[in-house]
Symmetry: C2
Subunit: 465 residues, 2 copies
């Protein structure tokens, strides 16, 4: 164990203001990958990250892909040492509903010890933790304790459609002994955590077409099937009264918790009333008879993410609308096959299509669920670094989220991976007023700096030295 280097810690402290400035600069670039109107911003963000990497002493460049480019930087001057591949993403979620933001989403604003802004924690802030830790190492010692590669992606928030191909294309750039991803959250403030499972992800868009144009509901109400009502029938059938997804075959490959998992969940503090209050709902709801943490981390879900059709302006407009549309997505676990689930849901929706309207469904994305092994020495190194950075040994948790590249690293590169993230559950990622606690950000930087030191003993090819 390398222990804490006080000079390194001081360097991190000394640069707090500068690191916060860098985060504000990165937040200021509206790199929304889902919106084609922001394509130029996305590229600009990539180039900004590359420039920053070069500035701190990495050898960095833009790697083109079939979609948004990757920012890539490396420091490979530690012969005989293992190589760490750091992954993060510079793209962000859309900002709607914009009117609910208390400060502009693309203006990093500090209030109450937190920085608010889209991407503050997901994932720009956590990417910058690594760049700041690298900068601290190079400033103090002029070198890193390991070989290091940093890949920052621009399409994580849209399901990483071009990432697998980029990994194949740039095999050399991705060659490493272990990967670290900082795109997850801790279980709670003061409960440092290492994430060991991620859910998979698939999404669909359902469109129901009725009359060729919006029609007067007085004249035609009663003789045409209402597309909104037809769509509502489909969306209402995504769950049964017990909170289960009634799509035939949906739960194939979903494992039941084993005793040790159940014991781990039971050991974590979870107060349903407190959680419901924090979320602003009258009560939690979900699959009957299962613990909320099991539902969040180890059970699949199917959710409607958006719906629209007909008139939504002020007052009333008495029409039978021409069409209605919904976006839905599934989170997957265990051995659920995303491609198979994609088809199962599509066929289920098509079978629900009522007479009198036309139903079409398109699908996209296929992120596999993944479980990270806990017994790798890099995981032990991360645990020691977290304890040094946050003052407590971490717990092992799951997450309901999905990170496509984690599955890619597992499947294409066979890389052991460490999911070392320091967000908090109330960070409002993907929502208005996303924030990153400055304490988490600054302690995270130190934790990452220590983590690199802890990895110094890792032998190339895996195992501790």
């Amino acid at each position: 164990m390398a222990g804490i280097d006080p000079e390194l810690a001081q360097a991190c402290d000394r640069h707090e203001a500068r690191n916060l400035e860098e985060l504000k600069r990165l937040i200021a670039i509206p790199s929304i990958s889902a919106d084609p109107e922001h394509r130029d911003d996305v590229r600009r963000c990539c180039e900004h990250v590359v420039a920053r990497m070069n500035e701190i002493g990495l050898s960095a460049r833009v790697l083109e892909t079939g979609g948004n480019p990757l920012a890539y930087g490396e420091w490979m001057h530690a012969p005989g040492k293992a190589t760490l591949l750091v992954y993060g993403h510079y793209d962000v979620q859309p900002v709607d509903p914009i009117e609910l933001w208390h400060s502009p989403p693309f203006e990093g604003t500090v209030r109450d010890g937190k920085i608010f802004g889209r991407g503050s924690v997901d994932d720009k802030g956590q990417v910058l933790m690594h760049l700041a830790a690298i900068a601290a190492h190079l400033a103090v010692r002029g070198r890193l304790p390991i070989n290091l590669k940093v890949v920052v992606e621009g399409e994580e928030e849209i399901g990483s459609p071009n990432f697998d191909a980029a990994v194949e294309r740039y095999r050399d750039a991705f060659a490493a002994d272990v990967a670290a991803i900082s795109d997850t959250a801790m279980y709670a403030q003061d409960v440092p955590s290492l994430t060991t499972s991620l859910r998979g992800l698939v999404h669909w868009e359902i469109r129901v077409d009725g009359p060729a144009q919006d029609t007067h509901s007085g004249y035609f109400g009663g003789i045409v099937r209402n597309p909104i009502e037809a769509l509502a029938t489909i969306v209402a059938a995504l769950k049964d009264d017990d909170g289960r997804v009634p799509v035939p075959g949906f739960y194939d490959g979903v494992p039941e918790l084993d005793e040790s998992q159940a014991a781990e969940l039971a050991a974590l503090a979870f107060d349903e009333t407190v959680e419901a209050e924090a979320l602003g709902v009258p009560q939690l709801w979900g699959e009957r008879g299962r613990h909320p943490l099991e539902r969040m981390w180890f059970r699949p879900t199917l959710e409607c993410n958006g719906i629209w059709g007909g008139y939504s302006g002020p007052g009333s407009k008495t029409i039978v609308p021409s069409f209605a549309t919904a976006k839905i997505s599934a989170r997957l676990v265990g051995e659920q096959d995303p491609v198979r689930v994609r088809d199962l849901v599509a066929r289920y929706v098509e079978r629900l299509a009522p007479a009198g309207v036309r139903v079409s469904i398109t699908d996209d994305g296929a992120v596999r669920p993944i479980v990270v092994p806990r017994d790798h020495p890099a995981v032990a190194a991360a645990a020691r670094a977290m304890e040094a950075g946050f003052g407590r040994a971490p717990v092992f948790i799951g997450t309901g989220g999905s990170i496509g590249p984690v599955a890619t690293f597992d499947r294409l590169l066979g890389l052991p991976q460490v999911l070392i993230g320091v967000g908090l559950p109330d960070d409002a990622i993907h929502a208005p007023n996303e924030k990153f606690s400055l304490r988490q950000f600054f302690d995270g930087i130190k934790t990452i700096a220590y983590f690199y030191d802890e990895l110094a003993g890792l032998r190339p090819g895996g195992g501790s030295g």
Copy 2:
């Protein structure tokens, strides 16, 4: 019977170009009553109508109400003659989805013998039929054959919320022997029609609130009830598989067709395949076992007019949204009481509210269904005028639409009413590319001019002279 005055007909023909210009000018004012942003346009439209009334020889003024003002004009120089009250409206429906319009909605554009534009037929064009007919009479003879009052309302498309109060306030202005409303359509091209029943109207907005803000569907999918899915469950429950509205008590007061009504419906040409094709749907749909015309005119419906919630932008955004909203409205018939239906539906929706979310419903509007007696001499006068204007005796039909003031005239003033409209079923009212056939417009002007002559024999207080 007065017959056709050839000089009057020629005056109408001679002014075709001018009448078309007037219609374009009126369409150019975006008097959308549902949208507060158009409040100034609404008033400007009222003032424009008043100015035009004065121009053609009426004594006109703006009548203020609790909402949008009325345009009022009168010509009361036929002592001993009956007084006709003409009603129409100058406000229009919203224009969304704007991208589906082939020409700007507020620019009257003539193509293929039709004028396209919001309000072209509903109801600006039909209001102008009366003003043009009055202008022809005054141009040819310097006088009208009857006393005449014209009231043009500015809130018909939002349910006439201030009309009843205005009728009370301006009792003198509304005093008349008979009312004529030109805000309906003929059964088909070449099938001149007089409408004898109108459905009533009530509308609601349902809102389902879930988490206090949009939440990450990975983190929270599985533990919170999805507000869109909860709303979908409610909207899906507005109809059963037989197309009936399962709200308890909803059908109270709905009469079955009597034999003569059934025979009248059966006598009207109706081809379901042709209608489905015209509407662009695979097949018609509605209450099982009932004729489509019965469903349109004599059966109540409950329709969802709009729905929205969550993310509707490009790509995907994996959230459990904070809320979802739907607009619904009911068309009523027979003795259905709008106020009672309002409560029945609200209570039904509240009972459907699932655990884990908050459901609220607001209601608005209460237009009674109405049946106009056919045996009044003014109806016979209208029938003769239609035969003179369109070359065939009219049929009697119902309409699925609702016109609040018709119910008001019946209830508050006890006025006999004639629903003499010349729109066509494919006019796309309330929809993109609303149009008015120029042939209907010009023949309509003559029909109205003849109608005034036909009313000359009507005795004040009713009955024919």
